[in-house]
């Protein structure tokens, strides 16, 4: 082996494993790691990492579809919807309490809103993952749809640049998927 110190990209591995059901996820990431080390020998670690990332990114559409079409999808979707409703209600309550206390100016609200949103989606992702692994993918989908709807009906009355709304669109589903994947990966490594 050319470089024994090189390690496969962890974020890409977590991303693949968070989207897939447990049995397939471990096997697929194992396959990617196996070929990654083969490529480290034949080419270079940088080239192998590039290949790993490209495989992970190209695989996500196929494995997302595969996960959504599995036989237990109705149960997973129901769990995701329940978690989504509970966390959305909680988020609205927190925002109402903060705005009722009159401590929030527009500028403060612009800074605080993404933080509350990220915290809510991350917690929701962890709860869904705790109940059922497959539910996180449905939850990410629901969050994506909800953000698109909220942007299109212009729920935000404060004028904000386009990239501010785009941040919600990208970070929402990502935090639902990545936060539980990171926590579970750190927990399993211990």
């Amino acid at each position: 082996m050319k470089s024994t110190n090189s390690r496969p990209p962890m974020l890409a591995s977590w991303l693949v494993q968070s989207v897939l059901p447990a049995d397939h996820g471990a096997a697929m990431v194992g396959d990617l790691i196996e070929e990654y080390y083969e490529r480290c020998e034949s080419t270079s670690p940088a080239s192998a990492s590039w290949w790993f990332w490209s495989q992970a990114c190209r695989s996500i559409p196929s494995i997302t579809k595969m996960s959504l079409l599995r036989h237990d999808r109705l149960g997973s979707a129901s769990i995701a919807m329940s978690v989504f409703v509970v966390m959305a209600t909680l988020k609205v309550v927190v925002e109402q309490v903060l705005s009722a206390s009159h401590v929030l100016t527009d500028s403060k609200q612009i800074v605080l809103a993404p933080m509350i949103f990220l915290a809510t989606t991350s917690i929701a992702g962890c709860i869904a993952r705790l109940i059922r692994r497959g539910a996180t993918l449905f939850l990410a989908l629901f969050v994506l749809v909800a953000v698109i709807v909220l942007i299109s009906i212009r729920v935000c009355t404060i004028p904000v640049p386009w990239w501010y709304e785009l941040t919600f669109l990208i970070l929402g589903p990502s935090s639902v998927l990545i936060t539980p994947a990171l926590i579970w990966a750190i927990h399993s490594e211990r």
Binding site: D23, H24, G30, D31, E34, Q55, R58, S62, M66
Partner: protein
């Protein structure tokens, strides 16, 4: 005209049986057959790349293998885990008798449809 009708009904019968294979399903089953009927995702992916030059994503391979498993064309079992795989177990896929049958039908269909086309290809 008669031949066209024959093929039309042939395809309908195959669809009813669920024997028709998609192009990626066909390629993956052939790759598995080339691996003596048993292999895991990496081997299948590498075999396809070696033979055809197509760089198919591992996700597409697994999604197709799962579909083939649901159709009963392949079966899977958990293999050994090694340090080279980060301690993760392999998922081994095996071509079943139904899969071989579907592969034979699809191969026969392609052979029948491409018969006599050589002159036309040369003309192009």
């Amino acid at each position: 005209m008669l031949i066209s009708c024959r093929y039309f009904f042939y395809i309908i019968v195959q669809m009813k049986r669920g024997d028709t294979l998609g192009s990626l399903e066909y390629v993956i089953l052939l790759a598995l057959m080339r691996l003596n009927g048993v292999g895991h995702g990496t081997l299948v992916r590498q075999e396809i790349e070696r033979c055809t030059g197509r760089d198919i994503s591992i996700g597409a391979i697994y999604a197709t293998l799962e579909r083939l498993e649901q159709k009963g064309y392949v079966s899977s079992c958990i293999g050994e885990s090694t340090a080279m795989r980060g301690g993760r177990a392999k998922r081994l896929f095996r071509v079943e008798a139904e899969g071989k049958r579907a592969l034979q039908i699809s191969s026969q269909t392609i052979r029948d449809l491409t018969r006599g086309l050589r002159k036309r290809w040369q003309a192009i």
